[in-house]
């Protein structure tokens, strides 16, 4: 039992240990290799780290529920882009011309609704057809991206609103607006997953779908809700990010699904479902952003970031497998 506890501790704590290692490594390496006089662990730099983690982080929190469910959502990048297009385009619609800056909450609502509807489409198809979520969302990834391009061709959709930018750039208690959104999302979803029936059902379904059905859990509607949640969060991520930048390229958000899944897996959520934690996912997100930031800080080539993250991902999965196998052996004896 002791070994089982230790491996569990290792699995849950590994990501935070890794983050600590990154912080120490980049602080030390930064002293010698960085052109900057500022320390890597400078407070402002750490605040920026949290802020820059927000776009991927908000989606990753949603992806954790989906993956605990034993599903996957590849269409988050496309939902992100389409919601951004709706957000920015709706601000210039003549219908809302008289609203002034009150157009902002209206556009936010429209963008978030877009995300929820797109997520519901995914969820309904998964529920009603029983086709694997991987295939369904692979299709919707392409389909939603097609909609983005149909909307405005190859051109960017833009609407620069300085009130909005000032809001997005604001810092409350030192933390940026985006950080607050990430924090609230993490806390709310963490609460849902650990303290509510819906959360417990999510684990049950991911662990053993048959058993969950037999236990009377309505698996279809449950998954529909989760896909709506991740659609909402992908849209929220777009709202947070594009409020600050004011222009979306039609190919924005491409590969986001892969970064998000990488973060979730780094955080220890199993691809097969049934296990995972929101807080560890946050760790995975921070670990990736730290790597990007740290390697930039010490002047490493940007392309090495991808290589390093890839290697670490494989190492994490390998470690996870080793620890799990050992745990099982322990039980047999």
């Amino acid at each position: 039992m002791e070994a089982g506890k230790l491996s569990k501790f290792l699995k849950n704590g590994a990501i935070w240990g890794f983050i600590l290692f990154e912080l120490i490594f980049f602080s030390v390496a930064g002293e010698f290799m960085s052109l900057s006089d500022k320390a890597f662990m400078d407070v402002d730099n750490m605040l920026l780290l949290l802020k820059q983690s927000a776009p991927i982080g908000i989606i990753a929190v949603g992806m954790t529920i989906i993956m605990i469910n034993g599903n996957i959502d590849l269409s988050v990048g496309a939902i992100f882009a389409l919601s951004a297009v709706i957000l920015l385009d709706s601000m210039t619609w003549p219908v809302f011309a008289d609203l002034g800056d009150w157009v902002i909450p209206v556009s936010w609502t429209l963008a978030l609704l877009t995300g929820v509807v797109l997520g519901a489409i995914n969820g309904l198809i998964v529920w009603k057809t029983g086709v694997d979520a991987f295939i369904v969302t692979l299709g919707s990834m392409l389909g939603f991206r097609g909609l983005v391009f149909m909307y405005n061709g190859e051109n960017p959709t833009s609407s620069l609103n300085w009130t909005l930018v000032d809001f997005a750039e604001a810092q409350f208690l030192g933390f940026h607006t985006a950080t607050w959104f990430l924090a609230v999302v993490t806390v709310v979803i963490w609460y849902v997953m650990t303290r509510t029936v819906h959360g417990r059902n999510a684990y049950a379904i991911g662990d053993n779908r048959e058993a969950a059905v037999n236990a009377g859990i309505k698996v279809g509607p449950h998954m529909l809700i989760n896909f709506m949640i991740i659609g909402f969060l992908a849209a929220l991520s777009a709202v947070v990010f594009y409020s600050e930048s004011g222009s979306v390229n039609p190919n924005d958000g491409q590969l986001y699904e892969l970064w998000v899944i990488t973060a979730v897996v780094l955080g220890g959520t199993k691809l097969t479902g049934g296990a995972g934690s929101i807080i560890s996912t946050l760790g995975g997100v921070l670990a990736i952003q730290l790597l990007r930031k740290g390697l930039g800080h010490i002047g490493a080539d940007t392309s090495t970031v991808n290589l390093v993250i890839g290697l670490i991902l494989i190492a994490v999965l390998f470690l996870d497998r080793q620890l799990n196998t050992r745990g099982k052996e322990e039980l047999k004896i």
Binding site: S34, L35, S36, D37, K38, D42, D44, N45, L48, K51, Q52, P55, E154, N155, P156, S158, L160, V165, A168, E169, F241, Y242, E244, S245, G246, S247, V248, N249, N251, D252, R292, K293, G296, H297, G299, D301, T302, S303
Partner: protein, 322 residues
């Protein structure tokens, strides 16, 4: 005791002096950060990066932080924030999106860091926050193309009756608009009797331009010149003319020389273009940043030279890498 105190004091002073010297040395070179659009997506950008690093290494007064946004706006904004946080002396940005980066550029501006926009400019709403733009002058490229076309007509003796068609870039793109404007304005000045019969967009696309040219060939029996927004489209038009067996006697001119255009010039099928070197582009951007940090006043639009290239002088230029 006294001796020891003296020794300690001396050591401390020596240490301070050394530290001071090291400090001065560390602060000596100016630090310039660059965030590029998407290195590796095409060889223009790859060559640009290599040239930029080479130019920075050759100059021991500068140290550079070279970053690549990989085409991702979010990452470019994060890189801008990081560079501001690292308190570099100047930032060079190759925008992934001419509007989305404006707030990030404003941040650098309010932090007192001069920003050089390189290659393609940001949207007008952000002009107030940019110290200088370093890149090619699209209008000049267009007007020089008109001069190449006109000189060729004069050499052929048809400057009084020649008819020209134009294939422009993607509608809405500043580059496309300016290259067309430069050509449209300059042609009547140098060759007043040449007529520009029609302009159609080719969307920077070779196949699309081939179709546009096919339509032109059906519509007009007499075409003496084709002007294209870049060589990619120009070669598309050339292919259409070759297929219709009418390329002979048509002067093809592009507004930016691509390797396909260069090759067609070697074969004698394509007349000329405008040479835009990624090496010049990179060196001009670095130079602009250096001058800004040194306190030199720069014009807002700081263009680097893009010379004319024709079959006559092409041996002076190496084949473009893109």
């Amino acid at each position: 005791m006294t001796l020891r105190t003296v020794l300690t004091a001396t050591a401390a002073t020596a240490a301070l002096t050394v530290a001071g010297a090291a400090h001065a040395e560390a602060h000596g070179p100016m630090r310039i950060g660059i965030t590029q659009n998407n290195v590796g997506v095409d060889s223009y950008q790859t060559t640009y990066e290599k040239a930029f690093i080479a130019a920075a290494e050759a100059n021991d007064k500068v140290e550079v932080v070279v970053l690549d946004a990989g085409g991702d706006v979010a990452r470019q904004i994060a890189q801008m924030e990081d560079l501001i946080q690292q308190e570099v002396d100047a930032i060079i940005i190759w925008p992934t999106n001419g509007e989305a980066v404006i707030p990030a550029v404003r941040k650098a501006h309010s932090a007192g860091i001069p920003v050089v926009v390189t290659n393609s400019n940001i949207a007008e709403a952000g002009f107030d926050f940019v110290a200088t733009f370093s890149g090619p002058d699209n209008v000049t490229q267009g007007s020089r193309s008109a001069e190449i076309m006109c000189d060729r007509f004069k050499a052929l003796g048809i400057e009084n009756e020649a008819q020209v068609v134009q294939i422009s870039g993607q509608p809405g793109y500043t580059t496309a608009i300016e290259r067309q404007q430069g050509f449209d304005d300059r042609l009547p000045e140098v060759c007043p009797n040449v007529t520009l019969v029609e302009t159609q967009p080719g969307d920077w696309n070779r196949e699309k331009s081939q179709q546009v040219m096919e339509a032109f060939l059906v519509k007009y029996d007499n075409i003496d010149g084709v002007y294209a927004g870049d060589d990619n489209m120009g070669v598309g038009a050339l292919n259409a003319a070759l297929a219709a067996d009418r390329a002979e006697g048509i002067t093809f001119v592009g507004a930016t020389n691509f390797s396909v255009g260069y090759e067609a010039m070697e074969r004698g099928e394509y007349w000329g273009s405008i040479y835009q070197s990624p090496v010049d582009d990179a060196e001009a951007a670095l130079q602009s940043a250096i001058e800004l940090v040194s306190g030199t006043e720069l014009p807002f639009l700081n263009y680097f030279d893009t010379p004319k290239i024709t079959q006559d002088n092409m041996s002076e230029f190496t084949k473009p890498v893109f």
